[in-house]
């Protein structure tokens, strides 16, 4: 039996300890905000925050996060009004929206680590998150907006 702490809540798992956290979150815990995009940490759609760091849940096993705090989009902010979320809405960032949760989690972790990133730092930090619709210009601007106060 493995016990995980997700969004402040205890979750138990008695199956495969190597199960990727992504599938535990989505299929076992019903937290479907976190998305599957590639399964190989190439696209960032599955990004969650573990302790304070952005982590790709598709290549992180459930046993890797025992004893650590996992935050998903569902737990990012109680009313969904994290500065990054607000900036995203203000700039109408998404198109299809599928990658946006991963982008938002990555951006939130970036701003925790570096509250005032430069545009170059934003582009570098966000380069692991693919948006096939191509919302990058707005993502970059939204991260900047979130860092300067929405």
């Amino acid at each position: 039996m493995i016990t995980l702490k997700i969004n402040g809540q205890q979750k138990n798992w008695d199956g495969d300890p190597d199960l990727p956290l992504l599938w535990f979150l989505r299929d076992e815990a019903g937290l479907t905000g976190t998305k599957y995009g590639c399964g190989q940490a190439l696209c960032g759609a599955c990004t969650v925050i573990v302790d304070k760091q952005a982590v790709r849940s598709c290549i992180t096993s459930v046993s890797d996060v025992v004893g650590r705090e996992v935050t998903t989009i569902e737990g990012l902010h109680p009313t969904g009004d994290h500065a990054v979320q607000k900036a995203w809405r203000q700039l109408n960032v998404p198109q299809c929206g599928f990658c946006q949760v991963g982008q938002i989690m990555q951006a939130a972790a970036l701003l925790t680590e570096n509250p005032k990133p430069t545009h170059d730092q934003i582009r570098e930090a966000m380069a692991g998150n693919i948006c096939r619709c191509g919302c990058y210009q707005r993502i970059e601007n939204a991260v900047h907006l979130a860092s300067t106060g929405v």
Binding site: G15, L19, G97, I104, I130, Y136
Partner: protein, 772 residues
């Protein structure tokens, strides 16, 4: 109009209310008889009339103009408007209901959007592709809204005992200004529902100067908040009680099948419940599944791990020798010989022989995969002779038909629930994944989710075709182009529907080949034969991508050969402002639109070139190693021109400091979403130009994920993309937005690279071609 307290009950309400289907043809006829309806630029005040026809009536099931199908008002005043097209990022789930709300004077903050299930008899055509939604539905949605408004006004007038002409709907109320009385939509709903639906011919549409929403770009997507908090529901987010999770190992070669398999090791994986062969159809079979071996598990992770442990022997079949290097040589050889003539003006052979100079360009574009961020996925629950599907499908109606046919049950027994699409790009026009889920659910007697992995998506999809475009242009002594021969060779999408297809279909020939707009005396377009060896499908912008790449590269090559400015050369080739006549083209497709409403108008093409040149600073001086390129193209009956600025450093590293694009998409609904689409097409265009290649060896796709099929990331993205939308003429009908941005990007980029480096790239992707 329908009165309900719970919008969820909207589905199925046709059982209680008779729904008249106003056929598309009768609407068009009505338009003609009535002398037309108001269509004015959203930003202009213009009461004048202007009729326009679209090809909507030629689509399966046409359009339905009936407020009782699309609008419901609850007693509390909440207005529910049905979105019957699929949302994949264009904003259509917001834009079309917004048109209805505009015309019916509903207050957007009190509007809820309800996604339609798949039912084209009820809702009209739902196949969301071809950049058609706004151009086919602007007018029907206005008519639906105007009908609903008229019913509300009539009901209020009756209640007050005043003539209907004295009352007016204003922002969710009907007002009688003479007496100062007013009554809310919610209070009127029950009475309004008893009113008969007014005839389309007699409808009074709003004067565009009174528009609150249309053309303004002030309304955010209805799903915006849900997307940012993770509650937006995509296909994979559907969870049903007792649902099983499945992944499928599919034949790696198109047309292949399972020879034998051993599932023992897979069954030992924790969480795996079952391993079973699933039915496949011989190729080609439209959108039917490929078959293979399914692993059923308690979660997706276990199913994937189980699939990795399968031992399968495949029978590859006839396509086992498909190999991309050899195939390219085949296409090139075909392009160097005469082929089926699909357009002919003058005598191109004689004109080329008599030319002072002949410039030849041969351009290659490989297969591409869609790689929408959400790979294909669907949930099915089949019980007896009934099936319910949940999934991200572009064509809900088509999915319903195909699932019914596959399960051999009546269409009425199939319910298709459309989730949000995590990107579509044409891939999700094909519902094979939904059929797979239905077949597995039927076998297992339980709800099943079939999840495609990224590798499945890349290796087992319906790829963009692979093409060689060869253009020979003859110039006279003065540098004027007098001859143009374009041979286009590529396996056709029709090969996915019919065996032994070797020529492209009219809808492919009509995307940038036979509709070439240049003013040249001798023109010949040819389509030599090409056989398919994999599943070919629609990919955003389709054949326009290779055609615009070839034609617009050739323009710059001609400019270079004649020492002209590329923009001047482009404008000279486009020629005088005129409607292009294409009398020699049989079956001119024109994106399914009537040519009189949507002709090739070179004045509009010139206009976007001139606008982007002005706004984008064509001719401005740029730093060393930088260059500007320009390209223009008409597709999906819209006109678009792009300027790309590139920088290439001494190691060949390519960056894009700036992109400028001008689009003329006629009368528009939501400029904010148009801007976002064009920003996105710059990224997709850069992705395919810089990195995009799916290649085959031994019949198998050699790529599998974003490591070997890369797409543009933020650190490679253009620093700035500027978008300019041409204000529509008063009578200009709406045209496509979702796709037209892609085609001109690659040639503008390639032309900019030439300007920066002197290197002319004729085969995409760029890959390492710029490295010293």
């Amino acid at each position: 109009m329908n009165i309900i307290t719970n919008p969820r009950k909207l589905r199925g309400f046709e059982r209680y209310v008779k729904v008249d289907n106003v056929s598309r043809r009768s609407i068009l006829k009505g338009l003609g008889l009535a002398g037309g309806f108001v269509l004015a630029a959203p930003v202009m005040s213009r009461p004048a009339l202007a009729a326009y026809k679209t090809g909507a009536g030629e689509m399966p099931h046409g359009t339905v103009v009936d407020p009782r199908v699309f609008v419901a008002i609850a007693p509390d005043g909440i207005v529910t408007i049905v979105a019957h097209r699929a949302e994949m990022g264009t904003g259509v789930r917001t834009s079309l209901p917004m048109i209805v709300a505009e015309e019916m004077e509903a207050d957007w903050s009190r509007v809820r959007v309800q996604q339609a299930h798949g039912d084209e008899v009820k809702f009209g055509n739902q196949d969301t592709d071809g950049s058609r939604s706004t151009r086919h539905y602007l007018m029907p949605m206005r008519q639906i809204g105007a009908s609903a408004r008229t019913m509300l006004e009539t009901a209020a007038a009756k209640r007050w005992g005043v003539p209907a002409t004295e009352v007016k709907a204003v922002n969710h109320e009907v007002v009688h200004s003479a007496s100062g009385r007013r009554i809310g939509f919610g209070d009127l709903a029950a009475d309004a529902a008893k009113e008969s639906v007014p005839s389309v011919e007699g409808l009074r549409l709003k004067d565009p100067k009174d528009f609150r929403y249309l053309g303004k770009g002030q309304i955010s997507m209805v799903d915006l908040r849900d997307i940012t908090v993770g509650t937006a529901r995509y296909g994979a987010d559907v969870r049903l009680p007792g649902m099983k999770y499945a992944v499928i190992a599919r034949p790696p070669v198109t047309g292949g099948k399972v020879a034998s398999f051993d599932g023992a090791a897979a069954m030992k994986v924790s969480g795996v419940e079952k391993v079973m062969e699933v039915k496949g159809w011989p190729w080609p079979s439209k959108f039917q599944p490929l078959g293979g071996v399914a692993v059923i598990a308690r979660n997706t992770g276990a199913a994937i791990k189980g699939r990795d442990a399968l031992k399968i022997v495949w029978d590859d079949g006839a396509n086992g020798k498909y190999e991309s290097v050899a195939y390219r040589a085949e296409l090139e050889a075909a392009a160097r010989k005469p082929g089926l003539v699909v357009r002919k003006e003058g005598d191109v052979e004689a004109a080329l022989k008599g030319a002072d100079k002949v410039i030849v360009g041969e351009y290659y574009l490989p297969h591409l995969a869609h790689v929408a961020m959400e790979p294909p996925v669907a949930v099915a629950d089949v019980k007896g002779d009934k099936a319910e599907i949940w999934g991200p499908v572009q064509s809900a109606g088509g999915t319903r038909e195909d699932v019914a046919k596959t399960l051999d049950i009546p269409q009425e027994n199939v319910t298709v629930n459309v989730t949000l699409l995590g990107g579509g790009f044409g891939r999700k026009s094909k519902c094979d994944y939904a059929i797979e889920a239905a077949l597995l659910s039927k076998e297992l007697g339980a709800p099943v989710k079939v999840q495609w992995t990224r590798e499945d998506d890349v290796r087992n999809g319906f790829l963009h075709t692979v093409s060689v475009e060869r253009i020979e242009a003859g110039l006279d002594k003065s540098g004027k182009v007098t001859a143009w021969r374009h041979r286009s060779v590529a396996p056709s999408i029709a090969s996915t529907f019919a065996a032994n297809t070797v020529h492209q279909a009219p809808f492919e020939l009509g995307m940038g080949l036979v509709d070439m707009p240049f003013e040249i005396a001798n023109v010949q377009c040819e389509n030599p034969e090409a056989a398919a060896h994999t599943r070919i499908g629609w990919f955003r912008s389709v054949s326009n991508i290779p055609r615009a790449f070839a034609v617009q590269s050739m323009v710059a090559e001609l400019a270079h050969a004649t020492k002209r400015d590329p923009k001047d050369m482009l404008l000279e080739l486009i020629g005088s402002p005129r409607i292009v006549k294409l009398d020699s083209v049989k079956d001119l497709w024109n994106y399914g639109e009537p040519y009189d409403s949507y002709p090739i108008d070179t004045a509009r093409l010139r206009k976007v070139v001139e606008l982007v040149a002005e706004k984008g600073g064509w001719g401005r001086s740029v730093p060393k190693g930088h260059g500007l390129g320009i390209a223009a193209h008409r597709s999906f009956v819209s006109y678009i021109a792009t300027i790309v600025e590139v920088a290439v450093d001494d190691k060949g590293k390519l960056t894009v400091p700036r992109v400028d694009t001008a689009i003329d998409c006629g009368t528009f609904v939501n400029p904010e979403r148009i801007q976002s689409q064009i920003e996105g097409t710059a990224i997709m265009g850069l992705s395919l130009a810089k990195h995009g290649a799916i290649t085959f060896k031994d019949g198998k796709v050699q790529q599998g994920n974003f490591d070997d099929f890369p797409v543009i990331r933020m650190d490679e993205a253009p620093a700035v993309t500027n978008v300019y939308i041409v204000p529509p003429g008063p009578d200009t009908p709406p045209s496509g937005v979702g796709e037209p941005g892609v085609p001109p990007f690659a040639p503008a980029l390639i032309n900019a690279i030439f300007a920066a480096t002197g290197k002319r790239i004729r085969a995409l992707p760029i890959g390492k071609q710029l490295e010293a």
